[in-house]
């Protein structure tokens, strides 16, 4: 997690850093382009202004040349000026006659129209209020004027009476060159502009007047705008400077002048010299002229951040995918590690996945059952009923039920019982789309239950047999004894003997009992101590043999207690057994031998006890038992084949294969 967070932080820092650097570069580049473009535009504008001014200058020079050659009538001038102003930005072209004061009266003779005829050389006292011009040393009188506006020319007006003009006119004459008036309000247009003056000389070289042209800043600006595409252009002229100082700086287009104070930061101001003045052309680029709008930077930064975020998301996705893979692997391992069998099914019962236990249990040699119907699993010996049952279970589970039942399956010829559980997987929509089947092999449990059932069956069977035996013993005992107390004692003795043997066998889970335990258990009921000696090797007896031996010991002991060695002090009994392997099969030979008892008489009639011993041993165990009433003590020899007394595992009800074949 920490590593992941560190990685994300690094990526974020790099991403943001790159974005900022890229933004900075792009911004710088944009600025430079913009500056270059603005510079170019300013240059174009300046050039256009200069060209326009040059043309005006040519027109003024033409007027000078016209007046220098000869006398010109107003009609001639008008025709001439009309052709000159056709395509230029000239607002007016004029000729001002230089009239010294001494020539005033003579000059005023020529006026034949009002108000000049009355006023003579005149000037404005106020708007549209012409008055006779006062005497001055020299008048510069409008002799001819062509106004683009079409208004009547102010013939006879002394222009030196107007502001800003006199200096430039005098400079033009004194310096014999083109001069520019101060920026002023032009009479015919009511706009700001300047007048260009050149002196006009006669053939004798005498100054006879001044040729003038007027231009408006707005018209020049229009020309500049058309040439450069810059919308906002301002044109101004600097105050006139003396010719000496001007000469060195007189170049086509001067270096960038210090920008005017009012110019916006991005404005580019160019200067050039025209006439006797420095002209300034300031271009303020319009916002749309930049190839990179301000939002471009935002876009770049946004894109950079978005890319960073995308990389982060991708990395997070990678991490998540890795986690998912790990989680899947863990889940798979967990499923495979499970003891129970597990399947994932489609709602229609098709197997999607199975864990290792399931594949091991039901997988075929080549495939793991995936893609096959679930009920095909038991097909190796699976009955139609079984398939139906599985189908129904899948259908019920797909309908949302938990289905659980025990199922017998045939697994490679081996009968197995599985506790099968099919459950729907709750999906988001609530409709079960997948099923989980799990199964636990409960064969052992079933076998345990089967064993338990068999044990119970045997116990039940044995008890009923025992009751049958007791019933028989009661009948026999009753027949043998004439008195009730004897009968009772005898019967209780026999039943107790059987009871003790049963108890012993029950302790051993009816698997058998040791012969010594069986013998001691019975003989101890007749003697207190050393009167009976018991000796022999260890040998396990099956329940039937144990019961027979126990009953024999009981009968012999009872007889000895009543009539034999145990009926008086000093008598003794020896019980000894050996395993003899002399004959055709090994046998258990057990000998009961009495000594020290009263003399034994051969009984006239064999009692139930001895008959029981002799015949039951022979009948049940295929053995022999002989009770020999020797005078010095009873000797009973019991010989049984080991074959019939060995413990057997479980009694059989069903016939074996061999028996069926027979």
């Amino acid at each position: 997690m920490t590593r992941q967070r560190l990685q994300a932080t690094i990526v974020l820092l790099i991403g943001v850093g790159l974005t900022v650097v890229a933004g900075w570069f792009v911004d710088g580049y944009a600025r430079r382009i913009r500056e270059d473009q603005v510079g170019l535009q300013a240059e174009n504008a300046t050039y256009a202004v200069k060209v326009a001014l040059d043309r005006v200058a040519i027109a003024v020079q033409a007027v000078r040349a016209l007046y220098a050659s000869d006398a010109v009538t107003p009609e001639q001038f008008n025709r001439f000026a009309g052709t000159l102003t056709e395509s230029e930005s000239i607002r007016s072209l004029s000729f001002y006659r230089r009239v010294p004061l001494e020539n005033r009266a003579q000059y005023e003779q020529r006026f034949d129209a009002e108000p000049q005829r009355t006023l003579g050389i005149w000037q404005y006292e106020g708007p549209d209020k012409p008055v006779r011009a006062p005497d001055r040393p020299v008048f510069y009188v409008v002799e001819a004027s062509y106004l683009l506006s079409g208004r009547p020319p102010a013939i006879g007006l002394d222009v030196t009476s107007l502001p800003g003009r006199t200096g430039a006119i005098e400079r033009a004459i004194s310096e014999h060159g083109l001069t520019v008036s101060d920026p002023t309000r032009l009479l015919d247009t009511s706009e700001d502009g300047v007048l260009l003056y050149v002196p006009v000389h006669d053939r004798a070289g005498q100054v006879i007047g001044v040729a003038a042209a007027s231009v408006t800043f707005s018209e020049l600006g229009l020309v500049a705008r058309h040439a450069s595409g810059v919308r906002d252009i301002s044109i101004s002229v600097m105050p006139a400077v003396p010719s000496q100082a001007r000469a060195s700086a007189d170049s086509e287009v001067a270096a960038t002048a210090p920008p005017a104070e009012t110019s916006p930061p991005e404005a580019d101001t160019r200067s050039f010299t025209f006439g006797d003045r420095t002209w300034l052309v300031t271009a303020v680029p319009s916002p749309t002229t930049s190839p990179f709008a301000p939002w471009t930077l935002l876009l770049i930064v946004g894109a950079g951040l978005a890319a960073t975020a995308a990389i982060l998301a991708y990395l997070a996705g990678l991490e998540k995918a890795k986690e998912l893979t790990v989680a899947r692997g863990r889940l798979r391992s967990m499923l495979d590690g499970l003891g129970p069998l597990a399947w994932l099914l489609e709602a229609d019962g098709t197997i999607i996945n199975a864990n290792r236990a399931a594949i091991g249990a039901f997988g075929r040699a080549r495939d793991n059952g995936v893609g096959k119907p679930f009920w095909d699993l038991s097909l190796n010996g699976g009955s139609a009923d079984q398939i139906d049952r599985l189908r129904q279970a899948v259908t019920a589970a797909a309908a949302g039920d938990d289905v659980r039942f025990d199922l017998e399956v045939d697994r490679e010829g081996e009968r197995k019982v599985i506790d099968l559980w099919i459950r729907p997987l709750a999906s988001m929509s609530g409709e079960p789309s997948l099923l989980v089947a799990s199964a636990v092999d409960v064969t052992d449990r079933y076998e345990g239950e089967e064993t338990q059932r068999l044990l119970m069956r045997e116990l039940d069977h044995r008890m009923k047999n025992t009751l049958q035996v007791i019933q028989a013993i009661i009948r026999r005992t009753a027949r043998a004894h004439s008195t009730v107390p004897n009968f009772e004692q005898s019967l209780i003795g026999r039943v107790n003997a059987m009871s003790r043997a049963h108890e012993l066998l029950a302790q051993e889970r009816w698997l058998g009992a040791d012969i010594r335990t069986v013998v001691l258990q019975e003989t101890e009921t007749f003697s207190a101590g050393a009167a009976i000696t018991v000796e022999g090797p260890n040998l396990r007896l099956n329940p039937k043999a144990a019961l027979s031996v126990a009953l024999a010991m009981h009968e012999l002991g009872t007889n000895a207690s009543k009539y034999g060695a145990l009926s008086q002090p000093g008598g003794s009994v020896s019980v000894a057994w050996t395993i003899e392997r002399d004959g055709k099969e090994p046998r258990l030979v057990l000998r009961w031998k009495e000594a020290g008892g009263p003399p034994v008489e051969q009984p006239t009639e064999r009692g139930f006890g001895s008959m029981l011993i002799e015949r039951s041993i022979a009948y049940e165990l295929e053995g022999e038992a002989v009770v020999d009433y020797r005078p010095d003590g009873v000797v009973c020899t019991i010989s049984i084949p080991l074959r019939t007394i060995r413990p057997f595992v479980a009694p059989q009800l069903e016939p074996t294969q061999a028996e069926i074949a027979a």
Binding site: R457, E620, T644, E654, P655, E659
Partner: protein, 133 residues
């Protein structure tokens, strides 16, 4: 076929001596004769093959072996028989089919009654349907 006065020759197959002796004495006391008693399946089948009994009382399990083959043999020979056993009827059905079962402990009067029925030809070899599970 048998008349009431004709004694039956009854095969007794039982591996527990006291019980075998008891059943045999009951059969004899009722005036019939006993073949056996016999304690093993092999001896019993051999005995039946050589000498057809009129009736057989057989235990279900003899020295750890099922006596079902003996029951089959008796059926084939059309010898009526009953299985005298401590096992429950349900446990015997798979191997003994619908054979009549006499539950231990059996009383002398039951054996006498069964033999009487056989003698009167009223013995139903098959247990009634309602007793079949």
């Amino acid at each position: 076929m048998n008349t009431t006065s004709t004694p039956l020759r009854v095969l007794v197959v039982e591996d527990e001596f006291i019980i075998a002796d008891e059943i045999a004495s009951i059969v004899e006391a009722a005036g019939h004769s006993v073949i056996g008693p016999i304690a093993s399946v092999s001896e019993a089948t051999a005995a039946v093959a050589g000498d057809r009994p009129d009736f057989a009382i057989i235990d279900a399990s003899l020295r750890g072996q099922s006596s079902a083959p003996l029951a089959s043999q008796l059926r084939e020979m059309n010898v009526p028989f009953c299985v005298c056993t401590g096992y429950r009827v349900e446990d015997l059905r798979p191997t003994f089919g619908d054979a009549r079962v006499v539950a231990k402990p059996v009383r002398a009067s039951s054996i006498v009654a069964i033999l009487g029925a056989v003698q009167r030809n009223e013995w139903q070899q098959h247990s009634r349907a309602d007793r079949q599970m």
